[in-house]
Symmetry: C2
Subunit: 228 residues, 2 copies
DNA sequence: GTCTATATCATGATAGAC
DNA sequence: GTCTATCATGATATAGAC
């Protein structure tokens, strides 16, 4: 309790930064906004994190460490259950993308705010962010790719890698959610209230991802369709 | 020919801005970088476009006007060919996403640079950009949504809207391409040279999108899987 | 239309008192 | 650990000469 104030300062900065980076992007957020929102002194960021870049990395590390451990844990459980035979694609997709989406319900791990930040940042232009994320993601990515290779031995590996990539994109937009959905429709997705929304989104996205993952392989045909 | 210099200045600014916004994002690009790269005076941007925001909008309008007309044209052609009966989902997906991807080969309309800028900007946090894009996209979106509703009458409309959204996400990542693909894999996608790459990417993405679009409908089941 | 010069302000970072 | 004060830089935008 004696040191509670210090912990609070650090955490408050991280929380404010998470929310502001989500809302305005990395370049679009200033340290003055962050420290203002966190009600701490401007110099506190540099004292606790050293720089704005390091702060950004810490915002992600705090959440991704937990997420990726959880993903490993889920895959371990499925594999133990399967006892040596290859997993079903639906289990692998659930372990990776389902675990991610279920974070949205978990406010102690950032909830929807972090998810949307992550979804947006995956297309973020800043080089140092992409490099950092690629590094953070690497081990869990390798495990899941291997699981997919085993689950779909008849599909060329390059095809699986691309489809994983496509799934990341679809999920990223699914998370960005209602905001970006304005591109597609004006309707407020009327039917559902917000607590219900995630419960419906998860199976929705899962169906889509699995449909794409298991789609018939493309035949490479240089004479494309496009009518005059 | 007498006015060629002026036209050149405007176009050179737009070209430079397109490339730099693609590489560093809107907030991450300064007008000094833009005018430097275009070899024009710093004041030229404000003279020709009024502000940085207006410049950004003009960068998009220049390409999107053409793209969306092309999309309308392709859908018209398919519908004329079909003579009153509903189109196939594959035709609609080709008209919207195929037309987009085929821009990449067309350097006169921005080619890969604009495509990647577009893919990244769809998740851009800046409010004014998203508002502008939603407005620019609206008519063509409505046409394509209607076409999908007719093509898939047994699928609830809300489901189609979400799947359209997921398809946008997958396509966005497909475009961002090799850069963002570093998240998934280290390999240089070795097999293919760059001219070949797009010819393979289009059928690849089309298969994935159609698989997702036509996937079995999710059943809404609150008791999800996630093993302990 | 194009340029130089500059106004005005916000940025990230740090030094040094407490 | 926290604060104030400040630095050096770079941002957008504009006024006014040519």
């Amino acid at each position: 309790m004696a040191e509670a104030r210090n912990v609070d300062t650090r955490e408050r900065i991280l929380d404010a930064a998470e929310r502001l980076f989500m809302a305005h992007g990395y370049e679009g957020t200033s340290m003055r906004q962050i420290t203002g929102e966190a009600s701490v002194n401007l110099a506190a960021v540099n004292y606790h994190f050293g720089s704005k870049e390091s702060l950004m990395q810490e915002v992600f590390r705090r959440r991704l460490d937990w997420l990726n451990e959880e993903r490993m844990r889920v895959l371990d459980a499925y594999e133990k259950e399967a006892g040596g035979i290859a997993l079903k694609p639906s289990q692998i997709v659930d372990g990776f993308f389902g675990t991610l989406l279920r974070m949205a319900d978990d406010e102690t791990h950032g909830g929807m705010t972090f998810l949307r930040l992550l979804g947006r940042t995956l297309t973020e232009p800043s080089e140092f962010i992409r490099t950092f994320l690629a590094h953070e993601y690497k081990p869990v990515m390798e495990r899941y790719k291997e699981a997919l290779f085993r689950a779909l031995p008849e599909v060329p590996k390059a095809e699986i890698v691309w489809r994983f990539h496509f799934m990341l994109g679809a999920t990223s937009y699914a998370i960005a959610g209602t905001d970006a959905l304005r591109l597609v429709t004006d309707w407020q997705i009327e039917e559902e209230d917000s607590t219900d929304r995630l419960d419906r989104l998860v199976p929705r996205l899962m169906s889509f991802l699995l449909g794409g993952l298991r789609a018939p392989l493309p035949q490479y045909d240089p004479s494309a369709v496009n009518p005059k």
